[in-house]
Amino acid sequence: MPTTPSRPLLRLSGVDLDYGGVPAVRSVDLTVTGDTFAGVVGPSGSGKTTLLRLLLGTLRPTRGIVHRAAGLTVGYVPQLETINWDFPVTVRECVLVARRQTRLRPWPTRAERTEVGEVLERLGIGAVADRRIRDLSGGQQQRMFLARALLRRPSLLLLDEPTSGLDLATRHEILHMLGELNRQGVSIVLTTHDLNGIATHLPHIVCLRQRVVAEGAPEVVIRPDVLERTFGARLDVLEHYGLRVVVDRGAGLEVAG
């Protein structure tokens, strides 16, 4: 990931991870710095989520080393598909669990209520704070988990498929919001299948197929030869008003907004 003067938060050196002897990621070297805004792309089963969990610390490498900056706080936004949306909890309750309970009484302090309210307002979902999570739109659901992650004031935010299942406008809205957070000083790494979305919004892309096939700026990575090595399929790349647009020959033109 970008080798900027900014301080390194996480570094993976020669990391392998196996699931019961089956390799998930191989020889991964990556550095996440304080201003990283990177997207990890690759086909299903390429190790994207595994890589994210290695960065998160919920998985330990089979081989290799993960260096973590002292006092690093990581926020994590899971895939929306993994959530039980019928769980009887409101947006406010869902976000508040990220704040450690420090007293016997279960209800939040006035300061905690204010803090949760501010985070929800900042992400534009203050009005739905007392709604049940199943009553939210896809974009609101994603913002709610962002709010929960941000409540911990993380220096690094990891997001697993944040644009999956969202319509085109909401996808761009979420990526735009992540760009804003990055400019405010939050380092961000996300996984996605949305090549055109990240080519438009993200300054750094990592192509993964168990190993890091390539990484760099979109103009370096979004190239037919790199995409073929990553996805095992021929994808064309067009220039459109200075932006790179990936064309899947089988599926027709995918438009990046």
Binding site: Y76, P88, V89
Partner: protein, 276 residues
């Protein structure tokens, strides 16, 4: 005798008042813990544990240890084993519950067949008995309820987080393993404390029914816990009274009252949705 005095009639008996208190406290206790169990997709854990403690019951009887102590330790050990197997391998909660609890139950039956029982009556253990409730049982159930309330309040956010989203909870610094162990201990104690009145066979319903009823009406998680505890206490109170008047085992009437409340709430909430 007027219907009013008939209603008050059983309160003349000390054993009934003891039974009523235990049923009400146990109902609240099961309602509260049942919320977490049902939301974790472990609804049959209560059913399994109630059978599992049978092994502890038999072992305690065999070696002459107090029934509560033996069965309680056995129940906690079974719950921890289920939790470990379910979390650590891709076996699934339902399969883990099936393996651990049936093995424990079978062991209990084998021990009792070989060595016999020197403890309380098995019919009472299976279906619950109002007569079997001692004053010390009231104190024990009240104490377990008190401890459970403290745990649910003091670890409210951690319990909610680990139930809703364990992976992110772990990544956020919550000691998920420890919270799971705490919940399993509380559940085992709840099952054990409830056996006296409801019996082995019907504990599962006492754990699941109030939580399911509460899910149909509560909009927030906090309110869900309150409603489940109140429904559990209410069905315990009404069921115990009904047990006296219709002369049917208390466990049966408590569960039937719960099922009736479920049917009414289900019909009402379904009707309300259609109306909207």
């Amino acid at each position: 005798m007027s219907w009013w005095s008939a209603l008050w009639d059983p309160f003349r008996f000390g054993f009934f008042v003891n039974g009523l208190l235990v049923a009400t406290f146990a109902g609240a206790l099961c309602g509260l813990t049942g919320v977490y169990i049902t939301l974790r997709g472990m609804s049959y854990l209560g059913h399994g544990l109630s059978h599992s403690v049978f092994g502890g019951f038999a072992a305690a009887s065999l070696i002459g240890v107090d029934y509560y102590l033996g069965a309680g330790l056995w129940g906690v050990a079974s719950a921890l084993m289920i939790n470990r197997v379910a979390r650590s391998r891709g076996i699934g909660s339902d399969a883990a519950i099936g393996v651990v609890t049936t093995a424990s139950f079978a062991l209990g039956v084998a021990l009792l067949t070989l060595f016999g029982s020197r403890g309380p009556s098995f019919d009472a253990a299976l279906f619950g008995s109002i007569v079997g409730v001692r004053p010390v049982d009231v104190v024990i159930v009240a104490a377990v309820l008190g401890c459970t309330l403290v745990v649910v309040c003091a670890r409210y956010r951690a319990l909610l987080f680990t139930t809703f989203d364990p992976e992110v909870a772990r990544a956020s610094g919550v000691a998920v393993g420890r919270v799971d162990v705490l919940l399993m201990c509380v559940l085992s104690l709840a099952v054990l404390a409830t056996l006296t009145v409801i019996g082995v066979t019907l504990v599962a319903a006492a754990l699941v029914v109030p939580a399911v009823i509460a899910r149909m009406v509560a909009r927030t998680f906090a309110f869900l816990l309150v409603v489940a505890a109140l429904v559990g206490a209410g069905t315990g109170f009404v069921g115990m009274n009904l047990s006296y008047h219709v002369d049917v085992p208390s466990g049966t009437t408590i569960v039937l009252v719960g099922a009736a409340v479920f049917a009414v709430v289900y019909a009402a909430t379904t009707g309300a949705k259609r109306w909207q």
